[in-house]
Symmetry: D3
Subunit: 243 residues, 6 copies
C-alpha cells in the first residue's frame, strides 16, 4: 500500500520531517511517499496563506492520481480537506482530523495544544463537528523559531500546559508541524496520551484502505464531472473534467 | 466610494450580471467596479472548484489594492471570505453573509433557497454561526440551465418553495448567482421579504465604509506581514510580505 | 430619510446623548429624531425594569407611526425589539443587535464589553442567535456614576479589558448607554475595532430603508390585526386593531 | 399556602378557567387566588401584545405582595417570567415552564402541541434552555374559536397529532389557554402522558414553597433596590424602589 | 404516599443519611423507605463502578414493585435513571436531576458544586439537556475523607466556591452524597439559594404522584414486555418478562 | 495481535456472527476471540436491558485481562463503553462508535440506519458528540424476526431508506446486530458508502494497538484503584481493587 504524505506549504524540509514520522508509524507493507506543492506560501501561518495553499495542494494531489492508495494531508490546518476528499479516487485523511478522531476513542474529551493562535484550531475542531468533545484549545505563545532555538524550554512549557489540560482532558492532540515527533519525546512525562497527527493519519489511512469502501456516486463528495476551467495545470483541469 | 464586485469564477458574464445588480442597489455616490479571476473554474459547483477558486479570487483582489474602498464577493459560497477579509486593507463582505445578516433584522428566522445542493449552504450558514437563526435550507432541484430555458416554470417552483418556507421563516435568502435579480421578480407574489446577496452586500459595504473602522492590529484578521511564498503573482506575493 | 432614536427609559438626557451620537453617524440626507417614553423606569438596570419599559417604548413608537422611515432602539438591552419589529410598518433596529451583526463582518468572533452584569448581555447575544460568534461577554464592574466621576480611570479599565479580550476576539462591542461615544475616545489605543451600537444602528437602518423590503404578510412579524385591548393609549390600541 | 394564578391578558373568563384548573390540582391545604391585569391586550396572540402584557402582569403582581406564598403565571407564553421572578419575594412559576420541566422527568424528549404558531413556543423552549429535550413543537392550525365551535373535531385533530408526536416524544405538553383541561379529556386515548401547564405549575409552586429556599441576595434575580420610575402605579413603583 | 430512597452503592450508612434527609423534606402524609443493593461497589467513584452499580440498583428496585408510589435515586450520578424510569410502574426521580430542574425555576443559570471530578457532572448535566442553563461545574478538590476529618475547612472551601460561582450562577446545586445536608449548614452564609438533591427529589416525587400521569404505552419508556434473560434475580427477570 | 469481540447480551449465536464478521475484516496477523456474558438479557432491546447488560459485559471483560491486546464491543448500543475503556488496560472500541468515526472521514455528514427505535441511536450519537455530523437517524420499522423471515423485502426497504438518506448524508452507518454483513450485500446497489460497526471496530482496534498509546494516569479514564465492592465476581472485584 502506498500512502502519499501531502504537504500544503512549499517548504521541502517540512515534507521530509512528516515523511520520516509517517515511516515510523507505517505498517510493514506500507510505502510512504512525500509531495510538496510547486507554488504557494513557504509556511502557512495566516488565513490568507491557508486559502492560497489549497490550490497548490490540490494541484499536487492531481499529479499523483493512480500512484497512491491513500493520502494524508501533512498540514495541521487540514487545508482543503473536503475538496481533496471529493477530488481524489482514494481515501484522504487530515492529520489534525485523524488525531482528533483517534482521541475520541481514548476518553470523553481531548484538548488541542499548539504553539500560537488557538482560534484557528478551535474553528477547525468546530468544522469537524467535534467541539463537544474538545475541552480546550490552547496555545503556549512561543514561535517555531523559539522551539528550535531552545527545545528544553519549549518542552517544559508544553509539559506544563499538558499537565494543566489533563485536569479536564483525557488526551492531548499536538497540533503544528514543528511539534511533529514531540509526542514521543514528552509521552513518558505526561499523565495522559499525546496524539501526533501524522502517526494517527497513517494508521487511519491504512484502515480506510483495508475497509475498501467505494466513493459516493452522488452528492458533494462524488468526484467532479464535466467541470470547465482555465489557467489550471493539465492534471488538475483533467480531474475537474473527469470522464 | 468605489466598491469592487469580485467574482470567484472565471465567467465574465456572471461578473457583469452581478455588477449590474450592484449598480441598481448602490447609493448615488457609489461607483461599482467588477473583477474576474484570471484562472480557475468557469463556474463553482463543487467543493473542489470552490477550494481552487480561492486562489484566483485572492489573486484578483491583490491586483485591486488601493483602487477600491470596499469589496463585495460576488459568489454565493462566500469563497475565501475570511482570507480576503484578513488580506485586504478595506471592508470585505460576502454576498450570502450579507443577505443572512440582513435577514436577521427582519424576524427571528430566515430560510435559504437555492437551486441545487442544500448541504453546502447549510455548512456556510453554520460557518457564519447563524444556524440558530436559519429555519431551513432547501434546494428546488433544478439546474441553472433549466432556469434559463424555462424561467416561468422556475419562478413557479421558487414561489411554491417560498410559500412553504414562509410557514417557519420570516424572510427568504435567495442563494446562487443565477437567482440574482429574482427577488425583484418574485417579491410582489411572496408573503415574506426576499433577500438578494448582491444588494445586501452593497448596502452593508457602504455602511462599513461610512463607519470607517480600523483593521485589527493583532490576531488572525490583522494583515499578513513578512510571509514568504513562491510561484505566486507579484501583487499577491507582495501582499503576503506586507511592509 | 427620518430615523427615530427611541429610548426605552424615561431619562431625557440619555435620549439626547444618543440623538447626538446618531447625528454624527448619519448620512447627509438623514434626519435624526429622538423620543422618550412617557412612563416607566428612569434607567433600565434590572430585568423587572426592562420588562416594564417594553410597554413605554411601544407606546412611544405607536405615537410616531408615519413620521419616520426607520427606528433605532436606543437601549443596549434591545428592549422589546421583536415586538417593535412586528408592530411598526418600517424597519426597526436594536443598537446592540446592530453592533453585533456589524461585528460579524469584521472577523470570526467579537466580544461584548459592558460595565456591570455580563449575564444579561450573554442572554441577549444568545437571543440573537450569535453565541457561536461571541468569544466572551465581560463587565468591568464599575457603575455609570463611577464612569462619570473618574473617566480616566474608567478608560484605563476599559482599555485593559479590550486588550485582554483581543486575545480571542477580533472586535469589541461596547454595550451600555453610558459608553456611547467611548469607541471614538478609545479606538486609537485599541488593537481591534470598537463598535458603538448607535452608529451601527443608524448605518444599518439607512441600509434597510434603501433596500426597501416589504413587511411580512404572514407569520409572527406580520403587523397585528384586529387585536382588542383595554387601558392602553389610543395610538397603541389603534395599532393593535390595525385596519 | 396561597398560590396566585396570575393571568397576563385582560380577559377575566380566562383567569376563571385557569383558577378552576388550579383548584383541581391543588393539595388540600392550598388556597388558589386569581388575578387579571387592569390594562393590556384582551388575549395575547402576537409578540406585540406579549410585550405590552408584561407591564400589566407585573403591575398586578405588585398589588399582591404579601398576600400569597407563590405565583403561577397563567399564560402559556410565560410572559415576563424572569422579571416576575426577580421582582416577587416568593417563588414564581411559568405554566409552560412547569409543564416542560415536569416532562423532563417522564422520558428523554417531550413534544409541545399548540393550536397556532409553533415558532413562538420553539423560542420559549429555547429560552428555557430545553431545546435538546424537545423533539418537536407543532401547531394543528386551528383557531381557539374553532376549538369552541367544534370540540369533537378539535379533539380528533389533537389526538392525531399526539399519535404522530409520540413516535419521537415520550410525553406531550399542551400549550395554550384554550387547551386547559384538554389533558384530562384526551389522556385515556393517548399513548404518552399529556401535560397541562396549570396543573404542573401548581404542583411545582407547592414544592417550591415547601423547599423554602431564600431569594438570591446578589445578581439579576435579587429584588430591585432604589430604582426610580415615573408614571407607574404606586405598588409597582414602590417595588422598584425597594427598601 | 410511600417514596423509596434507592441507593445505588452498597454502603448502608449512605442510605441511612439519605433517608434521614428525605424525611426532613417529606410532606406529612409521605412515608420514606430506604433500599441498598445486595451487590456492587461500596461507593461509586468511577465510571466502571457506576456502570456496575446500575444492575444492583435495578435489582433492588425490582424487589420493591408494588410497595411504593415513587422512587428517588439516592446517588448523585443519577445512576441508571432512564432504565429505572422505563422499568418501574411509578415515577422515578434522580437526585441531581431534581436539583437541576428545581434550580431552573430560580434563575437563568445554576452552577453545580462537587468535591472531586467535575467532568462526570458536566456530562450528567449534558445528558439531562441542561448545559445551556448551567454556568459552571466545579470541584473543590478535596476528598470525602477530608470533609469528615475537617468539616470547618471544607465548609470554608465550599463557601468560597459558592461566592465565586454566584458571580455567574443564580443558584448552586450541591452534588455528592457527602454533601447531603450541607445546604442547610451553609445557606445563611450564601448569597444564592443552595439545592440539595434529596430534598428536591422528594418534593418532585410527591408532585409527580399527585399529578397521577400514566406511563407511556409506546416507545422507549414503555415498560419492558416479553424480554428473556439468564442469571438475573427472579424479580428482575420477571419485570423484563412483564405480563 | 489478539482482539476480543465482546458481546453484551447472552445469545451465543450473536457472538458467533460478530466473530465471523470480525475475522473477515481482520489483518493477517490478527487473532479474533469472542466472549458472551454469563448473565443478563438474551437480546438488548430496551434501556432497562442495556443498563443491566453493562454488568455482564464488564464481568466478561474482567475475565479476559491479559489475554487480548484490544476489545471491540459487539453491541450496537456501545453498552458500557466508557466504563470498559476505563477498566481495561488495552484499547476498547465500540462498534457504532467505530462506524461513526470512520464515517467522519468520508464526508461532512453521515446517517444512521436501524430497524426499530431511532431515538436510542440519536442519543448514542449525541453521547459521542457527533450530532453535528449526523444528518439523520432513521428506523425502517421492521423487526429482526421479519428480516430473517423475508430478507429480500428487508433489503428492499433498507435500500429505499439508503437512497432517501443519501440526499443529505455522504455515508450510512448500519446499526444493529442483525444488520451485520448487510453492508457487503447492499453496497453495490447503494450510492454512498455503507459502514459496518464490526469491520470498522476491528480496523480501529488494530490501529490503536499499533499506535501503542499509554492509558491515562489521572482522571476518569485512569484505571480504578482501591475500590471496594461486594457480591461481584472475583476478577471484576480484583480489577476494581487494582494494585
Amino acid at each position: 500500500m502506498r500512502i502519499l504524505i501531502a504537504n500544503a506549504n512549499t517548504t521541502e524540509a517540512v515534507t521530509e520531517v512528516c515523511v520520516a514520522a509517517a515511516r515510523q508509524a507505517a505498517a510493514p507493507g506500507t510505502t510512504i511517499l512525500g509531495a510538496t506543492p510547486a507554488f504557494g506560501p513557504r509556511v502557512i501561518a495566516t488565513r490568507t496563506e491557508n486559502a492560497i495553499a489549497a490550490h497548490g495542494l490540490l494541484d499536487t494531489l492531481a499529479g499523483h492520481i493512480g500512484q497512491v492508495e491513500a493520502v494524508v494531508l501533512a498540514v495541521s490546518h487540514d487545508t482543503a480537506l473536503d475538496a481533496a476528499r471529493q477530488m481524489m479516487p482514494c481515501p484522504v485523511i487530515g492529520m489534525t482530523e485523524a488525531a482528533c478522531l483517534t482521541a475520541c476513542t481514548l476518553g470523553s474529551r481531548f484538548a488541542v495544544l499548539t504553539l500560537g493562535d488557538a482560534g484557528a484550531y478551535e474553528e477547525l475542531v468546530a468544522h469537524h463537528g467535534l467541539t463537544a468533545r474538545c475541552s480546550e484549545v490552547t496555545g503556549i505563545g512561543i514561535t517555531p523559531q523559539e522551539v528550535l532555538r531552545d527545545p528544553a524550554e519549549a518542552q517544559a512549557r508544553l509539559l506544563e500546559a499538558i499537565g494543566r489540560l489533563a485536569v479536564r482532558a483525557h488526551s492531548v492532540v499536538l497540533a503544528g508541524a514543528v511539534l511533529a515527533g514531540m509526542d514521543r519525546v514528552l509521552q513518558s512525562r505526561a499523565e495522559v496520551p499525546l496524539l501526533d497527527g501524522i502517526a494517527c493519519g497513517v494508521k487511519l489511512a491504512e484502515a480506510m484502505v483495508a475497509l475498501n469502501l467505494p466513493k459516493p456516486r452522488t452528492g458533494p463528495f462524488a468526484p467532479p464531472q464535466g467541470r470547465e476551467s482555465i489557467g489550471l495545470s493539465a492534471p488538475l483541469a483533467a480531474l475537474l473534467k473527469g470522464g
